[in-house]
C-alpha cells in the first residue's frame, strides 16, 4: 500500500492548540505541543498499541473515564488534559502498583541510570508506597538465551518483548506464561530464545528485566560515551551507536534511521563488536619469512610491499572485499591502475559496466522504505535474513501493517515463505532461465521452455506474472524487485530479461517502485561507484583497457601473467567460489599483500605481507548503502598501537612509487573521490550528516549517471532472444545450491558471545531425496563432486525442493566453494 497522506487536524492539549496528523496516537500528538505523556508499553516501532501498562491515562473532555493516550487516536477538536488531579492520581496509582513487585535494586540493576521506570517514577510518581507485604519472587538472574539475561522480578509485563517476537521478527518464541501476579516472560517451550533479532528486546525493555549478557555490569550510563557510526558487517549498513568506555567498545545500540534500519539491529550487528577487542585480531604488520608470518616493524612491511609491487613490473591485481570503504577502494584502484599500470581491479560486482549502468540507473532505484509501502515486493534469489537481515523485518512489517503483497522466487526455501502470497522455486543457478520465463510471461512469449530449463513450473511463473501485473488492483501498482546480486552472475542473460520485466512493470522513474539489489558484500555498491570494477573507473567512467574480474585474476595468477595480488579486506578462499582454483592461484602468486583483521585460511597460508586492518569501530570514511545512500563511518575508538589506517598504507605505497598523492587526511581522499565521481558532485562529508544522503535523489546528480554504451537497453531487449543455460538435470545426483548464513563471518567467530552461533557445515535436503539416499536427519554425510568432497550434517527440510542440495559458503572449513558443482552426490559418511 502506498504511503498514507497525513491530514492535519487541530486539537487542544493542556490549553494549547496543537496541529497533528489525524488518527495519530495522543502520546505522539501531545509531543507536538511539548507535552509529555509517560508510557511503558507504547512503542510506535512495535505497531498497534496494546494499552497494557495504563501509564498514559489522560482526561479527554466528553469521555467520562480516563483514556489511554497511547491507544486513543487524536480527533479534530478534541480537548485533552494531562495535568488534572484525576490524571495525577491515576498516574501515581499506576506507578504505585507497578512498583509493588518491582525490586528496588537499582544500584545493582544494569538499567539503572537509563531506565524509563526510574525516570517516570521520578517525574510522575507519588514517591511513597503503602505496600508493606513481601514482594513477588522468582529465581534470578536466568539466561533467556546465551545473549540475554532475564530478571523476572523486575518485569512490569509491558508485553514489548513478546510483541517483538510475535509481531516484528515473527519467530513466535516469546510468550507470557501463567496469569495475574505470577505472569512471566519466557519461550513457549523453555528453550533458549535464539533468533537472528533477539537482541532488540534488550533495547525495548523499559526496565532492567532483559539485559545483555555480554554487557552485563560492564559500565553505567555515566561511565560511557555513545559514538554514532555505521555497522559494516553486512549490506544493511544499520546506523549504530557504539558505547565506549576506556577506549573499548562495550555495546552497540541502534541509532534510529527509518530510511535504513527502522531502529532495529540484528544480533550480529549488536554483539559482533566483541571482535574489535578479540585476541585473535591482527594488530601488527607481518611479513612471511621462512614460510611463516612474523611480526615486523611498519617500515619493513611497507618496504617489502613496495619492493614486491616494484618487482612485479605492473603485473599487479587488486581485489577488494565488502568492508572496504569508498576511499580505500578508490585509492586501491589508483594504486593498481594509475601507479602500477595494471587494469585488474575487482570487487566481485559480477557485471560488466553496461550491466551495472543499466541496473544502477537512478530512475530504476527503489529505497529500503519503499519495500514497506509498495503494493507488491518480489524477492528474487536472496534470503534477506542472511544477506541483509534488517530488510527481513521491513518486509514482514510491510505485509503485516501495510498489506503489502509479498512474492518470493528463490531456489532455496525462504524464511519469508509463510508471509508470501506466492512462493516459486527454481533450480539453483537457473536464475537466468527463471527471469526469462517470467519476462516471457509478461510479453506473451514462450514460457514453457525457459521454465523447464529453470526447473520450475510454468503455471507458477504465469501466476507470479499475473500477481505482479495486477498488484495495484486493476492497474499496475508499485512493485519493488528485491534481488540478490548473486543472481546477476549470469550476466546479460539475467539482466536483460530483468530490465525487460522492470520496463513491463513501469518501474522506471516511478517513485516508490523499482529495483533494489542486495550486494554480496557490505559496500558492494560503493566500491562499484568508486571504480573498483574491472572495466570502469571512478564514477563508472569508461576505461580504455578493461581488466580481469575476480575469476580472471585467479586464472591470470595461475598462468603467471599476474604475480602480485593486493587483497583489501577479503580472503578469496572464503569469499570467492572455486576454492581449489583460488588455492592454486594464490600459491602461484609471488606476493600476496593483504589488509586483514583476522587470520583466515587464505591469509594464513598465502599472504606474504599482512597489514593489520582497522576494525569498523576505528574506521573513518564513507560507504554506500545498497539503495544509494552515502553514509559516513566515524571512529568511535582509537586504533590499537600497531594498526594504521588502510588509506595511509596505500598512500605510503603510492608515495614510495614516486607519486604525489596529495593526501593528508582521510577527508582529502574523500574529497578526491567526490571530485572524480560525477554523480557525487558537490557532496562533502558534512552534507552527508549523521544519517547519510541518497545521491540519486538530487536531480543534477542523478543526471550525471553515465549513459550506457548501448543506449536504450530497456527498449532494445524485446527484440533479442535471450539465451540461457539450462539448469543441470539431477539425473540421480543433486543440484548444488549455496547459501551464506548471517553468522558466517570472521567477526562472529572472534566474538565470544556469538561463537555458539557460528555455523558448521550442513547440507539441506528434501525428505524425498533423503529417503531415496537412505539418509536421516542429523546424519553425517559427505557431499562430493568432481573429486572434491565436503563433510556435512544432513538437514532435512520439508520445504526443500527435491533434486537440490544446499551447502553453506563463507565458513572456515568445508565450505561450499570447495565443490565446483553444478551436480553433487551425497553419501553417508564412513563411520570411523
Amino acid at each position: 500500500m502506498p504511503r498514507p497522506e497525513p491530514q492535519f487536524i487541530t486539537f487542544s492539549i493542556d490549553g494549547r492548540e496543537v496541529q497533528a496528523p489525524a488518527n495519530e496516537m495522543l502520546v505522539d500528538a501531545a509531543k507536538r505541543g511539548d507535552v509529555e505523556i509517560p508510557v511503558f508499553c507504547y512503542e510506535p516501532k512495535l505497531g498497534a498499541p496494546v494499552g497494557a501498562c495504563r501509564m498514559c491515562l489522560v482526561d479527554i473532555e466528553g469521555i467520562p473515564k480516563l483514556q489511554t493516550g497511547c491507544s486513543t487516536p487524536v480527533k479534530d477538536g478534541m480537548v485533552v488534559h494531562t495535568q488534572t488531579k484525576r490524571v495525577k492520581d491515576a498516574q501515581e496509582s499506576v506507578l504505585e502498583f507497578l512498583l509493588i513487585n518491582h525490586p528496588l535494586d537499582c544500584p545493582v540493576c544494569d538499567k539503572g541510570g537509563e531506565c524509563p521506570l526510574q525516570d517516570v517514577s521520578f517525574g510522575w510518581g507519588g514517591g511513597k508506597t503503602r505496600f508493606i507485604e513481601p514482594k513477588r519472587h522468582f529465581k534470578k538472574p536466568l539466561e533467556l538465551s546465551p545473549l540475554v539475561a532475564i530478571d523476572r522480578e523486575r518485569c512490569i509485563l509491558c508485553y514489548r518483548c513478546v510483541r517483538f517476537s510475535q509481531e516484528l521478527s515473527e519467530d513466535y518464541q516469546l510468550v507470557l506464561h501463567e496469569r495475574g501476579a505470577a505472569t512471566f516472560v519466557g519461550t513457549f517451550d523453555g528453550h533458549p530464545y535464539v533468533a537472528p533479532f533477539s537482541g532488540n528486546i534488550i533495547e525495548l525493555c523499559p526496565v532492567g528485566a532483559l539485559t545483555s549478557r555480554p554487557y552485563r555490569f560492564r559500565a553505567r550510563p555515566w561511565d560511557i560515551e555513545n559514538s554514532g557510526s555505521v555497522c559494516t558487517l553486512c549490506p544493511a549498513q544499520c546506523n549504530v551507536a557504539f558505547t565506549v568506555r576506556d577506549d573499548r567498545v562495550l555495546r552497540v545500540m541502534a541509532r534510529d534511521n527509518d530510511e535504513v534500519d527502522d531502529g532495529w539491529l540484528c544480533d550480529k550487528g549488536r554483539f559482533a563488536y566483541q571482535s574489535v577487542h578479540a585476541e585473535q585480531r591482527i594488530v601488527a604488520p607481518m611479513v612471511r619469512d621462512g614460510g611463516v608470518l612474523r611480526e615486523v616493524p611498519w617500515a619493513r612491511a611497507i618496504e617489502e610491499a613496495t619492493l614486491a609491487l616494484k618487482k612485479s613490473g605492473g603485473r599487479v591485481a587488486g581485489l577488494a572485499g565488502g568492508a572496504t570503504t569508498n576511499e580505500e577502494g578508490f585509492l586501491l584502484q589508483r594504486l593498481v591502475r594509475d601507479v602500477h599500470g595494471s587494469p585488474h581491479v575487482d570487487s566481485s560486482a559480477g557485471l560488466p559496466r553496461a550491466g551495472l549502468l543499466a541496473m544502477g540507473d537512478p530512475a530504476l532505484q527503489a529505497t529500503v522504505a519503499d519495500l514497506e509501502f509498495a503494493h507488491t515486493v518480489l524477492v528474487l534469489g536472496t534470503e534477506p535474513v542472511d544477506d541483509m537481515p534488517i530488510v527481513d523485518l521491513r518486509l514482514r512489517k510491510g505485509v503485516r501493517r501495510n498489506r503489502m503483497t509479498l512474492a518470493v522466487a528463490t531456489s532455496r526455501p525462504s524464511s519469508l515463505d509463510p508471509n508470501a502470497v506466492l512462493s516459486v522455486r527454481y533450480a539453483p543457478g537457473a536464475e537466468a532461465a527463471f527471469v526469462a520465463a517470467l519476462s516471457a510471461a509478461f510479453y506473451g512469449g514462450d514460457v514453457d521452455t525457459p521454465a523447464r530449463a529453470a526447473g520450475t513450473d510454468a503455471g507458477a511463473v504465469a501466476e507470479l506474472a499475473a500477481l505482479l501485473r495486477t498488484s495495484g488492483g486493476d492497474e499496475a501498482g508499485d512493485v519493488v524487485v528485491l534481488y540478490g546480486e548473486r543472481v546477476l552472475a549470469g550476466g546479460e542473460a539475467v539482466t536483460q530479461p530483468l530490465l525487460k520485466l522492470a520496463g513491463a512493470l513501469g518501474l522506471s522513474g516511478r517513485a516508490g517502485a523499482g529495483l533494489l539489489g542486495i550486494p554480496a558484500a557490505t559496500n558492494g555498491r560503493g566500491l562499484r561507484e568508486a571504480g573498483v570494477v574491472p572495466d570502469a573507473g571512478p564514477g563508472l567512467a569508461e576505461l580504455a583497457t578493461a581488466g580481469a574480474d575476480a575469476a580472471g585474476i585467479a586464472a591470470s595468477l595461475t598462468a603467471g601473467d599476474t604475480t602480485v595480488l593486493y587483497l583489501m579486506h577479503t580472503d578469496p578462499l572464503r569469499d570467492q567460489p572455486q576454492r581449489a582454483t583460488w588455492d592454486r592461484a594464490l600459491d602461484k602468486a609471488t606476493h600476496v599483500i593483504a589488509h586483514a583483521g583476522f587470520m583466515t585460511e587464505g591469509i594464513r597460508e598465502h599472504a606474504t605481507v599482512v597489514f593489520p586492518a582497522e576494525s569498523y569501530a576505528e574506521k573513518e570514511g564513507t560507504i554506500v548503502h545498497p539503495d544509494g545512500r552515502l553514509q559516513r563511518l566515524r571512529p568511535a575508538i582509537g586504533r590499537p598501537a600497531g594498526v594504521r589506517a588502510a588509506w595511509q598504507v596505500l598512500d605510503e605505497l603510492m608515495r614510495a612509487a614516486g607519486v604525489d598523492t596529495g593526501l593528508h587526511t582521510v577527508h582529502s581522499a574523500t574529497r578526491q573521490l567526490f571530485e572524480s565521481v560525477p554523480f557525487y558532485a558537490g557532496l562533502t562529508v558534512d552534507t552527508l550528516g549523521g544519517k547519510g544522503l541518497r545521491w540519486w535523489e538530487d536531480e543534477a546528480r542523478a543526471a550525471a549517471w553515465p549513459e550506457p554504451a548501448k543506449p536504450g537497453l530497456l527498449a532494445t531487449v524485446a527484440s533479442s532472444t535471450p539465451t540461457y543455460e539450462a539448469a543441470a538435470t539431477p539425473n540421480g545426483a543433486l543440484r548444488l545450491g549455496t547459501f551464506k548464513s548471517i553468522w558466517a563471518s570472521p567477526e562472529v567467530e572472534a566474538s565470544p558471545a556469538l561463537k555458539f552461533l557460528h555455523p558448521t557445515q550442513r547440507v539441506e535436503l528434501s525428505p524425498v531425496d533423503a529417503e531415496r539416499l537412505g539418509i536421516r536427519h542429523g546424519e553425517h554425510v559427505t557431499v562430493g563432486g568432481d573429486g572434491a568432497s565436503v563433510a556435512a550434517v544432513a538437514h532435512l527440510r520439508n520445504e526443500s525442493p527435491a533434486g537440490s542440495a544446499f551447502l553453506q559458503s563463507g565458513i572456515p572449513e568445508g565450505a561450499a566453494n570447495v565443490l565446483e558443482g553444478p551436480l553433487v552426490e551425497i553419501r553417508k559418511a564412513q563411520s570411523t
Binding site: V108, F217, A219, D223
Partner: protein
C-alpha cells in the same frame, strides 16, 4: 565624555580615618598601651607551659566527623564486601576521582552480597577534595570517609588507592577526639 583624569568619585566617597597624629599622648598610648594589651595574652599563656605538638611523633586528634581518607567496608558477619560496584559514588564525585569497574558474582567466587561487585575500585586521592559526596551517594553504606589524613607520598601513582587498600585497616589510625573533648 569625562576623561579619567577629572574623575570625581561623588558624594559617597570612603574617607579613611587614620589614627591620631604621631606624638603626644595618643602616640605614647599606641606604643605602650596596645603593646602591653597584647603581651597580656602572651604572658597569660606562659603559665600553661609549652604546647608544641611534635608531629609526626605526636598527632592531633581529629573530630569524629572529620572527613579523611575513605574506607570501604565488609559485612561483619559474612565478610562479604558491602560495595556492589554500582558506580553511584563515581557519578556523585565532583572531582571525578573514583573509577569503578563492576563484575558479576558467581556462586564459586562471591565477593559481595548482591549480583555484582566492584572488580576495580580506585580513588585517586591526589584529586579527591574530601567532600564526602561519595559517602552520601552510597546506597549500601559501603564507603565512608575515614579519619586518616596522612596521605602524602613520593609518587602520584601511589596516591591512587585500590580496593584492597581501601578495605584494609589503615596502617596507623588517626586519633579521634572523644565526645566533648
Amino acid at each position: 565624555m569625562p576623561s579619567t583624569t577629572d574623575w570625581h568619585p561623588g558624594d559617597d566617597q570612603v574617607v579613611v580615618v587614620r589614627g591620631p597624629k604621631p606624638g603626644g599622648a595618643g602616640g605614647a598610648y599606641r606604643i605602650f598601651g596596645e603593646t602591653l594589651r597584647g603581651l597580656k595574652t602572651t604572658f597569660a599563656r606562659v603559665v600553661e607551659g609549652t604546647n608544641t605538638i611534635a608531629y609526626p611523633e605526636e598527632k592531633v586528634a581529629v573530630y569524629p566527623r572529620f572527613r579523611g581518607r575513605h574506607r570501604l567496608h565488609r559485612f561483619e558477619d559474612t565478610g562479604l564486601e558491602k560495595c556492589v560496584g554500582c558506580s553511584l559514588c563515581a557519578a556523585a564525585c565532583p572531582a571525578d576521582c573514583i573509577r569503578v569497574v563492576a563484575a558479576e558474582n558467581t556462586p564459586e567466587h562471591r565477593v559481595s552480597a548482591g549480583e555484582r561487585y566492584a572488580s576495580v575500585y580506585e580513588i585517586n586521592l591526589s584529586r579527591c577534595i574530601f567532600c564526602g559526596y561519595c559517602e552520601v551517594a552510597c546506597p549500601f553504606d559501603a564507603i565512608t570517609m575515614g579519619n586518616d589524613y596522612e596521605m602524602s607520598d613520593y609518587h602520584r601513582s601511589d596516591l591512587i588507592f585500590t580496593k584492597e587498600m581501601l578495605l584494609a585497616e589503615p596502617l596507623e589510625r588517626a586519633p579521634i577526639r572523644a565526645e566533648g573533648e
